[in-house]
Symmetry: C2
């Protein structure tokens, strides 16, 4: 069985990468498997440990961080969330892809540990469009807008090593574009492995 | 303007690569520009030199071969046809892709002269399916079938350097897969060029 691939989806804040990822998985669930995350929050009614999340204490979470088990951790409010390397490996071994929505700094970490990971950068249609989306229209001073634009530029600087650049102009189009990348990457192969498939040897 | 890319589509005889290419361009004409080929046959009524073909004499064609102007030439019946490098460059410079259906040997020649060319190999669903498609069902001896299969294997051996492998199981699916590859390749970019677009410098 062919192994799956890891796709990292990143982009500057406010570009809509979360929405692209969510819509992509809603529309094309066959494109990737789902990793179960670790969290320090308590289970809600109906949530099962190991299915919806791995529910762990703060101390256990810290220990897992120390052991380098996480691909990425994020803090939301007072809780911590983490994606385990072992989860990613489990999905890949099932022949499924893994799609990770990750901050740009995190993307490079993934690439360092999983060199075959494919890094996708979601772009705003224009710098102005992104700034407007974040600061609102007309509610900020010019100085604030300029400060925000230079922050965006710094975020772009972190995208070194990203291979694909997808403009999120129309949301549905952006979803189709990311889908194309995932499908195309799945058709990359070596002649040796293809021949083995057809002729039983390479 | 971003330059287009060259896509070479090849595959063993009988795999249906011609049909895939034709359907792809019928359904998605925006994916690529059209090169005008050189031919030694005479114009049919309504055909215009430089629009439908460049109509040239045998001698002129031979001279163009000598000068190395062709990416590929093929002989059909008593006539010769050729794809000019200059035509490919003209389309690329317009920011459009070029799709070339080319024999496997030819694909490597293209890659040698245009290193950025993307080579796509169309695969049969199985070795048996391909052999059946070519020799017909039950009309050939086992020996003939075995000979044909070993020919196919030789054709596969020429696919070294091909990056994408597309199984032509259901024709419409194969067309969508090739479309995905072309779209995905169009989203590959360098951070430097992306930043130049957004910030006017890299």
């Amino acid at each position: 069985m062919k192994q799956g691939k890891v796709f990292v989806i990143s982009g500057p804040s406010g570009v809509g990468k979360g929405t692209v990822c969510r819509l992509l998985m809603e529309k094309y669930p066959f494109l990737a498997g789902t990793t179960v995350s670790v969290t320090t929050r308590s289970p809600r009614p109906g949530e099962v440990d190991g299915v919806h999340y791995y529910f762990r204490s703060e101390e256990a979470f810290d220990e897992m961080v120390k052991q380098g088990l996480f691909l990425e951790t994020v803090d939301k409010f007072t809780y911590r969330y983490g994606t385990l390397f072992s989860e990613v490996e489990r999905i890949l071994a099932e022949g499924k892809n893994v799609i990770l929505e990750i901050e740009m700094k995190g993307g490079k970490n993934v690439k360092a540990r999983i060199p075959e990971a494919v890094l996708i950068f979601i772009l705003p249609p224009s710098l102005e469009a992104l700034t407007e989306r974040i600061v609102g229209r007309g509610s900020e001073t010019e100085e604030e807008i300029r400060r925000r634009q230079s922050e965006v530029e710094e975020e772009f600087d972190q995208a070194d090593g990203y291979e694909y650049f997808v403009v999120n102009d129309v949301l549905e189009d952006a979803v189709e574009k990311v889908k194309s990348i995932i499908l195309a990457e799945g058709m990359k192969d070596s002649l040796a492995s293809v021949k083995k498939n057809y002729f039983g040897r390479n």
